[in-house]
Symmetry: C2
Subunit: 461 residues, 2 copies
Amino acid sequence: MNNVLDFINSHRDDYVAQLETFLAIPSISALPEHAGDVRRCAEWCVSELQRIGLQHAALHETPGHPIVYAEWLGAPGAPTMLFYGHYDVQPVDPLELWETPPFQATVREGAIYARGAADDKGQIFMHLKAIEAHLSQHGVLPINVKVLLEGEEEVGSANLDTFIAANADTLAADVVVISDSPMFDRDVPSICYGLRGLAYFQIDIRGSSTDLHSGSYGGAVANPALVLAQLLAQMKDKAGRIRIPGFYDAVVDVTPAERAEFARLPFNEKRWAREIGVPKPFGESGYSTLERKWARPTFEVNGLLAGFTGEGAKTVIPAVAMAKVSMRLVPDQDPATIGQLFEAYLKKLTPKTVTVKVTHMHGGKPWTTGFDNEWVQAAGRAIERGFGRQPVFVREGGSIPVVSTFQQVLGLPSVLFGIGLPGENAHAPNEWLDLSNFHNGVLAAAYLYEELARARQQPEA
Amino acid sequence: MNNVLDFINSHRDDYVAQLETFLAIPSISALPEHAGDVRRCAEWCVSELQRIGLQHAALHETPGHPIVYAEWLGAPGAPTMLFYGHYDVQPVDPLELWETPPFQATVREGAIYARGAADDKGQIFMHLKAIEAHLSQHGVLPINVKVLLEGEEEVGSANLDTFIAANADTLAADVVVISDSPMFDRDVPSICYGLRGLAYFQIDIRGSSTDLHSGSYGGAVANPALVLAQLLAQMKDKAGRIRIPGFYDAVVDVTPAERAEFARLPFNEKRWAREIGVPKPFGESGYSTLERKWARPTFEVNGLLAGFTGEGAKTVIPAVAMAKVSMRLVPDQDPATIGQLFEAYLKKLTPKTVTVKVTHMHGGKPWTTGFDNEWVQAAGRAIERGFGRQPVFVREGGSIPVVSTFQQVLGLPSVLFGIGLPGENAHAPNEWLDLSNFHNGVLAAAYLYEELARARQQPEA
């Protein structure tokens, strides 16, 4: 292992330069005009996987963006890790808020700034470097490795489940490893044992056939923008509780034990609020901020658009008003069921003075696992060796829907081994990744493969 | 008078071609990039006023867009009409909904389609043609004429009141004539005796310093777009009544007599709703559609913008959310007072989890007049001669704030002599003006000057 560690430590600067190349490709999956860039990024991954010594590295077509797969199966008898990541990134608007160009990575104050730095290119790259270090120094890895990279994570992974189901034999493994989440805090490495699910919708309200003059018609017709506001306002009560009938029926509430664990974590709510610039936190009554973020479902408005939004004043009654809304879900809520409940409630509330259309955009199931399983424990040891500290066990408010697919379709447990940091602006301007975490992450990943091999040699817990 | 009428009738087609030139200038006062076009339009008006025989035609600078003034004072002893109009137009977005380009006027099915066709270039042009007809045939007009055209009506006439106050002697007259409103209906010419006022605001809500990932933060911070929706929803109750405390205090309610007059008008509510494409009308309980449009105040959302509004899904909690809102006011509501009441109510409702900023964009006072005065009666006779039908007396839901300035600063009554039609899309794509109304309007304007001269010869009512 010393050779591997030396190799990693001596290439620290090279890794940053190499990562910049990966980050320079604007693989924005949401925007059709970037489809070519997404493909170029997939091709870059294929050639990089080949270069570091994986086999059968190839791009697999889907009805959307391509999936990349590669493997190294030279450790018969050892466990097999299926590593999953995504090479696509979020859109970059509002562009004017970026301090440096989103696809021209810039290092400042120990962090690398670029779209995808944390989510998820930087974290994929950490594993590629750990694999490369093992193979270049020993010609072998301590475990078998399968790498699966998708290009549609940021747009709902529409084609991933089909690919997994169709390639279940190829993807057979013992454990899934995913690095696509933040650590609990700087110097507080963590293992994540729970994720929220997602249900995302677009609401379109139409009043008149064209925009109307607010003088000639105002007061005599429903205003679609106001109707939309009234509908959205009825989604949550003043205590922050979601009013969709049946919404909470399947929710598994936070246990007293979990609540006690959360309360023990070194979380400074005032600092957290200051860092994101909110006057004060707000959420569902009766729950702490960590509980609200990790273990309670949400209703959020992600976008609003109606009428005149330029500079100045235009006296118009908009013909249409649009909202993008989404709900984060917790075990055992099901996105399809929640979608039905939401649509029924919205339609019941909508007055007959307008028409409403609800588009179901995408959904993903929530997930939790026991954190005493052998793989999670192995990951804990790897983190301790890479970062010099024991990890804490946390949940995460975001969604990685594929985790529940791996569980249901392949019967595989997942280990969430993330090295981002809170405030990394994953879906906002000025996304960044801490380079010291990145470096420790490469070491921890190199240790992880060894620890996963060792886990199988030990009696199961 | 026969020469004048013959002249008008024989130039019918020429007028349309000439009007197209006027409509081709994109004098959008709201958009800074069109400032040059607005000035070019003012210059076009000056040269046209000179060409038809008015004197002292000139462009007057203001801190905003220029004001155009010209006069013909060759009828000593006869009354003086101050004609007011505006040469600026509304923005054209959404451009893709225009069937033909907004600044390339197109005639189809007896109407001319272009931005400004009805509001207000077409109606200004009607008077220019009537003046030209008199002067070209007789070398004189039956009355003295002063023409005042502004370029900021669509953005709140910020500099007009100052200009009027500073030039009160120049603008001294007996009556103001304005043609900037629709007729009650096709074949139902009308005189308007009441206008609503306006108070227009922008609301900006800020939560966090940048957009946040809705997974990592969702449920633990206030969502500015949802807060905005909740605030807007509290502006009106289910009965369509505005909830701003004190909002109705100064409202002069519709009188039983007026209510009876409105009810007698040939208004087909079903046809009206079908024409604008709304599923059904909606407004304040206890009032008819005409009462709601003309004689009751409103609260409208004119624009909404927050977060991600492109195609697809982006899981973001917006840092900011914006609404443009406006209220139409009725006698004796005062826009400044209403602005204070609105801002106080909004701030009281806003939770401490976000910050709110209210920008007062512009305001205008409501106006009504008795319709038995000599000038209104003269206008009625002119319309009857031009259109072959007696006019009905109506109110209008829109705002022409200068009407109350003329009353307060110059002590002048106004006659609202509009020849647009309902559904003319004044502030929407595909604005149009009926050409048969335009032609009858030129005739009626020519008669109007004669009738105004005659009014002064009769004993006052």
